[in-house]
């Protein structure tokens, strides 16, 4: 056997063998049972996939909301302290002080259901029944004038809900500033005058900390 193929095979292997390639399955793990999948698979998508059986009215939702949610979000979703504002803000998104709420910003109603079902109430997650989540979702949609007062939200009619701001989301267009191809950065005599225009000390919102930094460069 000549040396040549041996060298070739070494090169070949150094290219392919650098990261482990799994030729076949390792037979690790075990099959998930239906009960296990049912217990964890709670996510809901905009097309309705994942919605559990159930329904709930705006009226019932108001009751659940006042007991479980209003302490942080306020009776009408106006938000207490720095907790999220859930309702209102319509027409503010283009302005200087946008108020992003379910009605003014969120593109899909399924997100409201999915989030409440998995993460709310804060500190007692996954304690609401599907019917209660349908009801609270209906109530929040009503606070945002997306459904009427006598509305009942259900698995059946869920995907008929359209959110007003859905059309305003678009794909990431970055990079959106000049790259080397378009404009090489200036290195010398780039500007004549430089002035300080804004200062953090004037704002003065940095938390107090021990001034004696151990860092000495």
């Amino acid at each position: 056997m000549s040396k040549f193929p041996k060298i070739l095979s070494i090169i070949f292997c150094s290219l392919l063998c650098a990261t482990p390639v799994l030729a076949s399955k390792l037979n690790l793990g075990r099959e998930a049972t239906k009960a296990e999948i049912k217990a964890w698979d709670i996510d809901v998508r905009p097309d309705g996939q994942g919605l559990p059986e159930g329904k709930g009215t705006v009226e019932k939702g108001e009751q659940v909301f006042s007991e479980q949610c209003a302490a942080c979000h306020g009776d009408f979703g106006e938000g207490v302290d720095r907790w999220p504002v859930l309702a209102g803000g319509l027409g503010t998104i283009k302005g200087d002080d946008p108020v992003k709420t379910v009605g003014s910003y969120w593109p899909y109603a399924s997100t409201v259901f999915d989030y409440i079902y998995r993460a709310m109430p804060f500190g007692n997650a996954q304690s609401l029944s599907p019917d209660e989540v349908y009801a609270v979702t209906a109530y929040i949609l009503h606070l945002n004038e997306i459904v009427k007062e006598d509305f009942e939200l259900s698995k059946k009619n869920f995907t008929s809900i359209k959110m007003p701001n859905e059309k305003n989301f678009f794909a990431d267009p970055r990079p959106d500033t000049p790259t080397m191809k378009k404009k090489k950065p200036c290195m010398e005599n780039c500007k004549k005058k430089v002035k300080i225009t804004k200062r953090a000390r004037v704002i003065n919102v940095t938390p107090d900390q021990n001034k004696n930094s151990t860092s000495k460069e």
């Binding site: 799994l22 390792l26 690790l28 793990g29 075990r30 099959e31 998930a32 296990e36 964890w40 996510d43 998508r45 720095r82 907790w83 283009k94 946008p98 992003k100 910003y105 969120w106 593109p107 399924s110 999915d114 989030y115 998995r118 993460a119 804060f122 997650a125 305003n168 678009f170 990431d172 267009p173 970055r174 990079p175 959106d176 500033t177 000049p178 790259t179 080397m180 191809k181 404009k183 005599n189 780039c190 500007k191 005058k193 430089v194 002035k195 300080i196 225009t197 804004k198 200062r199 953090a200 000390r201 704002i203 919102v205 940095t206 938390p207 004696n212 930094s213 151990t214 860092s215 460069e217």
Partner: protein
């Protein structure tokens, strides 16, 4: 210049006198005597001289082995801690703190200093009770124990993780005074784990598998949508950071690693990955982590972290204390698109730039450490750093970003940071024309 100080005719009393009043120190500076050298001369003659004075640690026995079965930093490093800005968030359980970048060097962040972001507090997971489930569009839904996961081929990678909201408080102008607060939502560690593609291969992806939804085991059930191409390219399920088990606040026992992409997607306490044919549009990728433009339209799925850099020293929390003379400027640069090619430094607010020296490893989607050594003449400085990555992406100015995005986008502020250093060596977060 320092020779003059060392001559015997310069009395100690004269030096004490000059050190006592700041104004006199300035006069001394004018004659070529700096504060630092004056202090050094004083040290030689006082009782506090660290060479002629015996210290306790020179004489008595210290602690034996096992005094700290798990070692901790020197007590003189007690300021090297994560810090938060309490007014930023409603509760500490759904909040963030910041890595003390100005106290660190090299490219690796120590585990106990990696910034924290939780949405429902730290889940204290018992690894023997932890499972990872793969379900959805797979041939066979699977469940893995921690032991199962450690039987996959392992890989080690150093990656940065940056929160998309890092520097988000600075969109409307200089606000927080310190790089810990303006840029500290970042860390960089060596992950040990297994490739996500190997785990998915065990379950077998169906041909219509296009998206993944990782989900956490914490009380927020964190979920995001990830395109399958990224998952198969370089994502990891990690169980170690810098050689030891993940810290609870970083997702113990396992977290997802999504190199170069925003930190929110790196789901901690990972317990399930669902495979699907379309994105989920979860709360964290619709109401949050979307970038609102001035015209009311919002960018979604803004995953990649743009190239960025920051001078960590000097900075507001780390002033120049040695007076004029030879100075080491240092900082960090990174890019979610690959390696950093170059970092430029300006001392005069962008009139003239010089290349900094990148030192240490230059790794894909990892922090890069840069240095710039110069003679400081004691005049005020306007410091900036500008990073350029291997794709030719140039870190923009904050005004360039505002021009295309306005000031309401919260996320992905990678604009060039300015520190104003005054004649005393104190630094402040400023913006310039």
């Amino acid at each position: 210049m320092t020779k003059k100080l060392n001559t015997p005719e310069l009395s100690r009393r004269a030096l004490l006198k000059s050190a006592a009043a700041g104004g006199v120190t300035l006069a001394a500076t004018a004659t070529g005597v700096t504060e630092a050298t004056a202090a050094q001369a004083l040290e030689k003659e006082t009782k506090e001289n660290p060479i002629t004075t015996k210290q306790d640690w020179n004489q008595v026995l210290g602690d034996g082995v096992d005094a700290n079965p798990y070692g901790k930093p020197s007590e003189y490093e007690k300021n090297v801690i994560r810090r938060s800005v309490p007014w930023l968030t409603a509760s500490p359980e759904s909040s963030i703190n910041f890595t003390p970048l100005h106290e660190l060097d090299g490219i690796i962040t120590p585990n106990g200093l990696c910034f924290e972001r939780h949405h429902a507090g730290i889940a204290e997971v018992d690894p023997s009770e932890h499972r990872l489930m793969i379900n959805g569009l797979v041939d066979k839904p699977l469940v893995f124990t921690m032991e199962d996961l450690k039987r996959f081929p392992r890989t080690n990678k150093i990656y940065f993780l940056e929160c998309a909201a890092n520097s988000g408080m600075e969109w409307r102008g200089a606000q927080l005074n310190g790089c810990q607060f303006t840029h500290g939502m970042i860390h960089c560690v060596n992950y040990t784990g297994v490739l996500l593609k190997d785990i998915l291969a065990e379950a077998g992806l169906k041909t219509n598998a296009k998206w993944l939804m990782p989900e956490g085991a914490d009380a927020s059930g964190m979920n995001r949508s990830i395109p399958i191409e990224k998952a198969l390219k370089d994502c990891m399920v990690a169980f170690k950071m810098n050689g030891e088990a993940l810290r609870p606040e970083q997702g113990y026992p396992i977290r997802l690693v999504i190199p170069g992409w925003e930190g929110n997607m790196w789901v901690k306490w990972l317990r399930r990955i669902e495979v699907g044919d379309m994105p989920w549009h979860a709360r964290e990728e619709t109401s949050k982590y979307t970038d609102l433009m001035e015209n009311g339209k919002a960018r979604r799925f803004t995953w990649e972290m743009d190239c960025k850099s920051i001078i960590t020293n000097p900075s507001p929390q780390a002033p120049i204390t040695h007076g004029k003379g030879h100075t080491v400027l240092t900082g960090l640069a990174w890019s979610g698109r690959g390696k950093v090619d170059r970092v430029d430094i300006t001392l005069d607010g962008g009139k003239n730039w010089q290349k900094a020296r990148i030192d240490g490893p230059s790794l894909d989607k990892a922090l890069h450490r840069f240095y710039f050594e110069f003679e400081w003449d004691g005049r005020p400085l306007l410091l900036q750093s500008r990073a350029i990555d291997e794709t030719g992406y140039v870190q923009p100015t904050k005004d360039e970003l505002r021009e295309v995005r306005g000031t309401n986008s919260i996320y992905h502020n990678n604009g060039i940071q300015t520190w104003h250093v005054n004649a005393k060596g104190d630094a402040e977060n400023v913006e310039i024309s």
